[in-house]
Symmetry: D3
């Protein structure tokens, strides 16, 4: 067969339906939306629209308008119900979201001797990027919006190596150092003042399957209480509870409850 024939044959083969279909949002538009969220949450750092600081109020107005338009349009792609109202509810949650993110900044500052100002943390630290995406995605998921939250957390996963499921519940003053390889599963519940390091998995152990043989989503990830620290590459698995003020050492594999103030470390060679 010559080129023309090979190309035409494959047009026919590839035009066949894959049977996979979905109401899909636009990744490019969502990327724009999350940039607007960043610019609204931390305009001093991510909003380059205006030159005069005294005019920032106007750029916030413009950015809110744009976010409203993009979110309404994208939510309408994937969800039934009043997309416009959901977009407005999300917008209405931004001031509180900023307040909580600033507690995360405090937690990073308190845990990393290599940095001494909040601005550098907001501007350069992957954990803050990951937490902005997570907290925005979580807010959208709570309204019942499908697919979009996952796309938003995957953007952060790709950029930072931190994989937080938008369904997880995470308290205030949350810090992740370095972050590459961190996995936080869908049904995790994390308290306040928790710190984790790179490579930590808060995962599940095993699944229940339905009659069709597909796994069922039920609570299967850990509960981490307040003031817990988990060191690098530790795996905490299953619906267990790590009590407040506990410490989990690096590289360990934890599948049972840990007492408050408990310490778990690796067997030494």
């Amino acid at each position: 067969m010559n080129a023309k024939e090979i190309l035409e044959k494959n047009v026919d083969l590839l035009a066949a339906d894959t049977g996979c279909c979905s109401r899909l949002p636009s990744v490019a538009r969502l990327r724009r939306a999350i940039e607007l969220v960043k610019a609204l949450l931390f305009p001093e750092f991510f909003d380059e629209t205006v030159t005069e600081p005294s005019m920032r109020r106007y750029s916030i107005g413009v950015n809110l308008d744009r976010l409203h338009a993009i979110l309404s349009e994208q939510i309408a792609c994937v969800a039934d119900g009043d997309a416009d109202a959901m977009a407005l509810r999300f917008i209405d949650s931004l001031p509180e979201m900023r307040r909580v993110l600033l507690t995360d900044v405090e937690a990073v500052l308190a845990n990393d001797p290599a940095v001494d100002n909040r601005g550098e943390i907001i501007f350069c630290y992957p954990v803050i990027l990951a937490m902005i995406h997570y907290r925005a995605a979580h807010a959208l998921l709570k309204m019942g919006i499908p697919v979009i939250p996952r796309i938003i957390t995957e953007m952060a996963h790709s950029a930072t190596g931190i994989d937080i499921h938008p369904g997880a519940t995470i308290g205030e003053y949350f810090a992740i150092d370095h972050g590459t390889g961190v996995v936080i599963g869908q049904t995790c519940i994390i308290g306040n003042h928790v710190t984790i390091y790179q490579g930590v998995t808060l995962g599940s152990r095993n699944f229940t399957f339905d009659d069709a043989g597909l796994p069922i989503s039920r609570p299967r990830h850990p509960i981490i209480e307040d003031h817990v620290t988990i060191y690098s590459n530790a795996s905490v698995l299953g619906r267990i509870t790590v009590g407040h003020h506990a410490t989990i050492g690096g590289n360990v594999w934890v599948t049972e409850n840990v007492e408050p103030y408990g310490k778990v470390v690796q067997a030494r060679p």
Copy 2:
């Protein structure tokens, strides 16, 4: 020295030959090629060329033409032989590649309770991105094309943290969850229905060196038989065989054969 003198001095120093040279493809063009591959494999998800679904056949024709042009041109940059014929052979393998990738989608669906539709997996899951890049790169490598396959898998490595060497052999129904930190070495042979988690290394233990002191490429990575599951951060190293239906626990270090249906877990503290 003033600015002019410093700049001019360094022009001379930097114009010196580094002694490193190569026939090089264009990363930007290869990025475009792989986008076309994605749009051809899953047009419902990644081909935004046409608006009317009934006209998709035309956009597939256009995308095949472009892929043909870019691949021929880029293969000719790095390989001797009939670049055009190699590009056409690659194109001719796309329908089968789609069939195999859809088995990977099934495997993910069967392993992750957090998702219940194939569309979301294709559209957002890093493992599918990694497998598209790997399967395309592997097809090109098998034709003897250098450098390009590696560039294609590195694109996915950068985006997902999943590092699969294009030389590895991977069967059908392959699932990776989360994925950050996964390494699959050049001479791995992986069967069907294998599932691995984040941070898993399928690596080598040690090398043989040639007379010039450089390491030799020979089979040095594991063979993973059908229906094996390997949990997060486990390392399976050397030319060992992990028998079918075996399970490797998280964070363990495996350097010897594992029996079919065997289980390897970490020593508990």
Copy 3:
């Protein structure tokens, strides 16, 4: 409240000062600067300005001029002192930086059986990308320039999963294989001919706090002497010394000194 009222209310709330402020550089301009650094260090690979190799001298001149302009401007955003002179000092260090990076290329070649030419390493291997960013960032940090070095290493962290603090000291012939999840802390001192694998942490154990309760930056990361090899996912923590020619096995957790020629491996199950 209707849309207008919700939007206007949130303009006011979001216009409130976050109290975080900083003299900030432009990430986009720094990205351009580092592309110029790459094009100057390895023009055969990353400088596509000219077509005729005999004219490359001119493109080097142009790229030096642009780098000079962008660096001066960006350094002036964050540092007091003579930004222009600092930019010129950086430029003046490029030829030596190239020499050292070529030793890293040699080290990769000597450690990876899957590759047999230097060009492919420079062009596609994440470790070289990470080392270009680190060595450039380190040079800027040594001049006392804040924030910019961290932004430059974070770019590489995001692209490769390799997180090297710009303050670390790293010798020649340094190789990292795969790299995802590698963390090299601020006060690490690494000798020559050191090789590490994916997931290795060279981290700290605990901090000293100041009167305000914030952690203090003092030497708290390991010293790795010449010819050390550290396998995947190992954690080496605290201000300990790993003696020359020592080997650290995969997945282990090391918090005490290791003798020269020593070997540390995981307890087997």
Copy 4:
């Protein structure tokens, strides 16, 4: 007043309503639409989508799909009625539009000694650009679509200096040489085989006004019969008839009927 005060004062002043409002299309989208029209009418010249000529059928399909989408969307911005049906009617007129435009190409070839191939005329001559825009705009105007036709002819006016009102009626084999300054008014009727030169005005003399004092649109521009030639900078004004095979000399001012085969020339000094 300081900068802030001046800016804020003018925000208020400029936010006042101008009282001018309109249902407006997007100029950028219409520009894209007309590029698609060009690519569909003369794919050998303006369609760079595909590389293989044998695949052009696919790019025509894709371009038709896009034109359909953009036109429907833009027509819906300005017109009531079935925008989709109007877009399809326009598309359905393209093959005949191409046939007529090819007669214009013949007419240019027969009139300009400086060119000897049709390809150069289609690819570079301003008259063909102007006629594509006019003939497309005229087809849209005949369906009753407002504003869009005018925008399309103004694009050509800006690029070529040829100002043809979309309401004019122009026959086949129409040639304009050079073209800058040509004006063809709204109610002109032009036969076949008419040739005009730069600076020619086919305009109106005076208007009738309505009760509000605004001018009324009624037939007020010339009728130019077949085989007429009008030389540079001539003005032919009012609802007069220039008979077939007549010649109008350069720089003259004609306000009365011209006999068939008549000649009008300027009084000599």
Copy 5:
């Protein structure tokens, strides 16, 4: 000589100084500035920043901030004195500029039977584009800013074929129909309610030269009083006065004063 030698020889020749030098603004930035001016004068037509009309106030604020920044920066490139203050004075003149431009819109509406709404005139008519550029350029010229006004009117000249010198003085209710080829010289003074057609020149007849033999700029273009109409391709030359309510016919050449209510027409053949 081979390619290398020819190229290098011409580097030397072309690096020689041309002796022409100037403090130059950036054309791209001025183009952006004039787009902002359009968006501020007629936001309903040219400001696509916000989606909700109720949020337009914010986009006006943002656009004023940007215009302020760009104009200050560009004025500082070419003029001594307080560039910031000049930019603010320009901004402060925008509301009055809008009022005058709306009189021009009225004049077009009253003179063109082919249009019946103000929106279409503002959005598509070349005369309004030309008048926005002229009125903005004139305002800048009156502050003594060099070069920039000319660049701004040349942009409109290129787009519309209407060449108005920024130094000309033009009253209210000014209409130009079609416009290609219109020239209005530096020292013209034009009253209110004046209408001109395509190809009209309001030019000079001859110059006075200085001792160096260069022409001197002094009043040398016509004064056109209120309510004058000048038809297509007429040339009105020299420091003459065309009295109020006069009419100048098409294609005529006028070099002497015209009485109020006078009529000048071409000698008929």
Copy 6:
């Protein structure tokens, strides 16, 4: 018929061959080439590559390399013969082309009281843009390269309204004021120190036809000797000679020889 049927029917109709074909260059690449020509001829005005004036030599080298590459590639699209050698010959003519263009700048300065510095003329005057395009196109045409010269002069025609055929011969110290509507035909011969104004046509009167009925290209446009001035909208037609130091008045129509020092003016009404 429904949308799908209408679209598919028209795919077939539009896929039919138009019978017009040509070896075609890329307009976008030629636009880039002419930008490089401008940057090389007047780097102080159009070359923004480098920041430090002392580094301009390098940007000239880079621009020459790029121009060489683009021109060779584009000439090879349309002409047989050694495209590379032709590109180099063109490059070798640039220094002389600059010298001649600087005489045109002098001529403009000597003719326009509204400007007093050379920089403003080079940077903003449409005549200089038109002359750069013409002189470059003429140089390419003299080497026998088809189509490209015409595309280059049409770019200037579109931007300035000045239509100079690349085949015309034009001496030094050539000035055009305003320029819109100027036409200079293919076989014109223009001496030194000639000045013309807007709307001037140097055209042909009538053609000779070949046996196929197509017009033949032979000398048919005027010869304009040194020191001639031609005022606005005048038409000079046919192979006549306008003697040195003659003056042609505005709006006149000249079809017979004019004596040296002669004056031709319009009949007055």
